[in-house]
Amino acid sequence: MTPEPVTQGDLPPPILGWSQSAIIGATSAEVSRALTGLRGNLIRLGLPEDALIRLELVLAEIMNNVVEHAYAGADSGDMTLEASVHGRAIWCHLRDKGRAMPGGKLPCPRRYDLDAMRMDDLPEGGFGWGLIHDLTQGLSYRRVAEENHVRFRIDLDS
């Protein structure tokens, strides 16, 4: 099944109606702090733990990708996260002013055949996009006016 792209016009009517916008500095420490804060806010809304686990993991991967790749070599930068809860999903939109994704599209997930690997060959990275693809619905990327826009949602019940 092809996931439908997430656009503002498609949003179902808000049930919980909660939303948050945050500007986060492009460092791994700031990402860590922002995610801890967001988790606290969403726990207070009574959202299911499994959805919050998926959300935090996906955001950590996407935001640290911005830190390490979009802003690689830059002195400073930031990103804006908009998250809202509508219907039975958490909708996210992350934008940054860093470098575009290579080829103008989302990187493909990398899959490893761990069974065939010797210990020394085990991967120490490259899991990020696999996790992002596996845990989101409606994942999309657009480069608009020198900005990267990544949108996705986390279904509360999946």
């Binding site: 460092t27 791994s28 420490a29 990402v31 860590s32 995610l35 801890t36 733990e49 499994d50 686990i53 998926r54 935090e56 993991l57 950590a60 991967e61 640290n64 830190v67 390490e68 490893y112 761990l114 069974d115 210990m119 020394d120 085990l122 991967p123 120490e124 990275g125 490259g126 899991f127 990020g128 696999g130 996790l131 596996d134 845990l135």
Partner: protein, 116 residues
């Protein structure tokens, strides 16, 4: 990075004191792990009971830790929170590391009676 080593018989239990092992701390984790296990001879049980979040960078650091111990010293994981367990399952790293529900289970598996 808070990490403490407690020998229990032939096994060394390495307790992580931080609640996140993520991109912000992955390099410190690796460095601290290398230092603290330098003189350890037997298997190491990594007690993750306090860790509520592990991302792919943190997982990479745990894999790097595994390699640091080499083939003669085991690295086993214990007391995974739901978030940590999810990452291990999704990346299939749960097939690479022996995983125990509790530190006591890990010790028992090595024939060590857990301290009361």
């Amino acid at each position: 990075m808070e990490m403490s080593l407690q020998p229990q018989g032939a096994v060394s239990v390495l307790r992580v004191g931080n609640d996140r092992i993520d991109a912000a701390i992955a390099i410190q984790f690796k460095d601290r792990f290398r230092d603290i296990t330098a003189d350890v001879a037997g298997p190491v049980v990594l007690d993750l009971g306090r860790v509520t979040f592990l991302d792919s960078s943190g997982l990479g650091a745990v894999v790097a830790a595994r390699k640091l111990l080499g083939p003669d010293r085991a690295l086993e994981l214990a007391a995974l929170s739901p978030a940590v367990e999810k990452v291990m399952q999704l990346t299939r790293m749960n097939t690479v590391f022996p995983i125990h529900d509790t530190v006591a289970d890990a010790l028992t598996a090595h024939g060590v009676a857990p301290a009361a």
